[in-house]
């Protein structure tokens, strides 16, 4: 069991040709369906669906309120380390980039966690580069032990692990993972990952499966939009999400739509994803997968984020820094990528409330700890 066969099947999928065949009638038919099949999802990603953005938005809004309520869950990223052995062409942390490298000591982790906790946030996403021998699983476990004193939910966005390693981190207090496949096209993946352990497409693709087998509570996946034909990438992301939902129904699944942002190095996205394309992808996801969470990070601008709240988003990052020790060190180093929404947690919280939604800081807590 793997999603790999599906990826291979669509490696040479020409979205221009296939999706170009859909017309307005197809879109109207899909909009009138209650549950969508794979082909229906393709129709919503087609150029023809661009004429129905408002209709899709209305339906996406209704489905989201029904499934998730007028509620936005907030979290923030915390970078532990930017050492990396991979050479991913699109990433600021790439081994090839000559940036200051840093890994927080456990004392610094505690300070950083305490500083972030001052905002009132209870959900945190901890990140490292892909340097398993430096930011070891043991180091991450030690960090989780400290961070769990300050936060109720800890998700990790780190290099891919074995199922047993996930089990150990879950035991320590991790309840979710974020893992982006970056691109679902095996050939493009090879070009973009010339060196380092991340070269192994299949190992990365099967990472959610391993985490789910270790009984992780939530999984967040995504493709880095801009690396390849976005319609195909969005299509495969949706199919991957559905695959996870099907085989691991106990997992709370969410999808991110990260768009490539400027970063250290000189990589230029080969496929530009406009705001309109971005919104179309989000709406198609919501209509195809009504129960999936949708996460929007501060990669996107404040204006765009404010506007998409009503279209299907369920989780947002706030007050983010993509630098190691970004909350306490005053460090001027380079982050993983540039963020666009620079508002503080408090400002974002107030704006969400102004938009008629409830900013939620806590929506989980460890169960198997000493009773409060």
């Amino acid at each position: 069991m793997s999603f790999f066969q599906t990826c291979l099947k669509y490696d040479d999928f020409q979205s221009d040709t296939v999706l170009g065949r859909f017309g307005k009638k197809n879109v109207e038919q899909v909009l009138n369906r209650e549950t969508l099949k794979t082909d229906d999802f393709l129709v919503l990603l087609s150029p023809a669906a661009e004429y129905y953005m408002e209709e899709m938005a209305q339906k996406a809004h209704r489905l989201t309120v029904q499934q998730f309520g007028k509620v936005i869950q907030l979290y923030t990223p915390m970078y532990l380390s930017n050492f990396c052995t991979n050479h991913c062409l699109y990433c600021g942390f790439s081994n090839k980039n000559n940036i200051a490298r840093k890994q927080l000591s456990l004392e610094e982790v505690e300070k950083e966690a305490a500083a972030i906790a001052q905002t009132g946030l209870k959900h945190i996403l901890i990140l490292t580069g892909g340097a398993r021998k430096i930011a070891t699983p043991e180091y991450i476990k030690n960090c989780v032990n400290i961070i769990s004193k300050y936060f109720k939910s800890i998700c990790i966005e780190i290099y891919a692990l074995e199922a047993e390693e996930y089990a150990e981190l879950i035991e320590a207090g991790v309840d979710g993972i974020t893992i982006y496949q970056e691109t679902y096209n095996t050939k493009r993946y090879k070009e973009l990952h010339p060196k380092g352990p991340k070269q192994d497409f299949l190992y990365r693709l099967d990472t959610p499966d391993r985490a789910c087998k270790a009984d992780i509570r939530s999984v967040n996946i995504g493709a880095l939009l801009g690396l390849d034909d976005w319609r195909r990438e969005a299509f495969l992301t949706g199919l991957h999400a559905r695959y996870i939902q099907h085989y691991f129904p106990q997992v709370e699944l969410s999808i991110s739509l990260p768009r490539i942002k400027p970063h250290e190095g000189n990589f230029q996205p080969s496929h530009v994803v406009t705001d309109k394309n971005f919104v179309q992808i989000m709406l198609a996801f919501r209509l195809f997968l009504p129960r999936a969470g949708i996460t929007i990070s501060t990669r996107e601008s404040a204006i765009l984020r404010d506007n998409v709240i009503r279209l299907g988003v369920t989780k947002m990052s706030a007050g983010s820094s993509t630098k190691v020790g970004g909350w306490t060190s005053g460090n001027k180093d380079t982050g993983q990528f540039d963020i666009s929404d620079h508002r503080t947690v408090k400002e974002i919280k107030e704006q969400i409330a102004r938009l008629g939604y409830q900013p939620v800081f806590k929506d989980w807590q460890p169960i198997f700890e000493e009773a409060m």
Binding site: R217, K362, D363, Q365
Partner: protein, 255 residues
């Protein structure tokens, strides 16, 4: 004579239980309580921010309302049991609505795990209200285990599709000697009214109220519908028939 709803050790006028999820602001909750007249309110432990001075949902719930913590997020019996105990330890009392959901796509409850959790929590002195698919055998096991009520779904959570499980809920009403509280799927006041007319003891409504353009007005409408349905049930509606009964073409010769 007052028609009171007996649940746990309480006797209540209201037969409408409300939820707290999905609202655009927790500050709306006092108004929803007042418009609905509800005397029981369910809250997910996972959402209660005990540390927050400004955003603790419990601050919006008046003392006269019975708190019904729920085990949202539990995927099996042991997680549900732990959540119930955490809720109790945090001062949320000994009522617990058991939700064990191991399927995030349809949010359907896991009857087997729910039975296990109910057995354990009843032994520990909890007043247990399990959320289930309307399955007679599961309901019987829950009755044996000492549940205070059973809460069959009308349709999947958040679907607003109405009493789609009508025939199965009717069987529970007829066969189970516990209060039957229809929970989930009731999208309109008329759906709640239908459940009450049929003899359900109470309804739990969240999405339909929280998702309304005017939640306060919708809460009031549900309260009226639940009351109307209850009165109709007590009044004993006349029998309905597919046939006119003025003549008896086949048996008239007997007269």
């Amino acid at each position: 004579m007052d028609d009171l709803f007996e649940l746990g050790e309480k006797k209540m006028k209201s037969r409408l239980i409300i939820g707290t999820g999905k609202y655009s602001s927790d500050a709306l909750i006092p108004n929803i309580i007042s418009e609905s007249g509800s005397q029981v309110i369910t809250v997910a432990l996972r959402r209660i921010d005990f540390d927050s001075k400004t955003d603790n949902i419990l601050d919006h719930i008046p003392e006269h309302v019975q708190l019904l913590p729920n085990t949202s997020g539990a995927r099996n019996a042991s997680e549900a049991i732990r959540i119930a105990k955490l809720a109790q330890a945090a001062g949320c009392g000994n009522w617990i609505k058991i939700e064990v959901i191991s399927d995030n796509k349809y949010l359907l409850p896991d009857g087997f795990e729910t039975i296990e959790a109910t057995k354990a929590l009843v032994k520990d002195g909890f007043i247990v209200l399990p959320y289930i698919s309307p399955d007679l055998m599961v309901a019987k096991r829950l009755e044996d285990a000492g549940a205070a009520a059973v809460m069959p779904l009308g349709a999947p959570i958040g679907s607003n599709r109405g009493l789609r499980t009508r025939e199965l809920v009717r069987i529970l009403i007829d066969e189970i000697d516990l209060p039957i509280i229809v929970d989930a799927g009731l999208g309109k006041p008329s759906h709640a009214c239908e459940a009450m007319e049929m003899g359900a003891d109470a309804c739990l409504v969240n999405t339909a109220i929280a998702g309304a353009d005017n939640p306060g007005t919708m809460a009031r409408a549900f309260a009226k519908a639940v009351q109307a349905g209850r009165e109709a049930f007590l009044a004993g509606p006349g029998a309905t028939s597919e046939f006119a009964s003025a003549s008896s073409p086949l048996t008239g010769f007997l007269e």
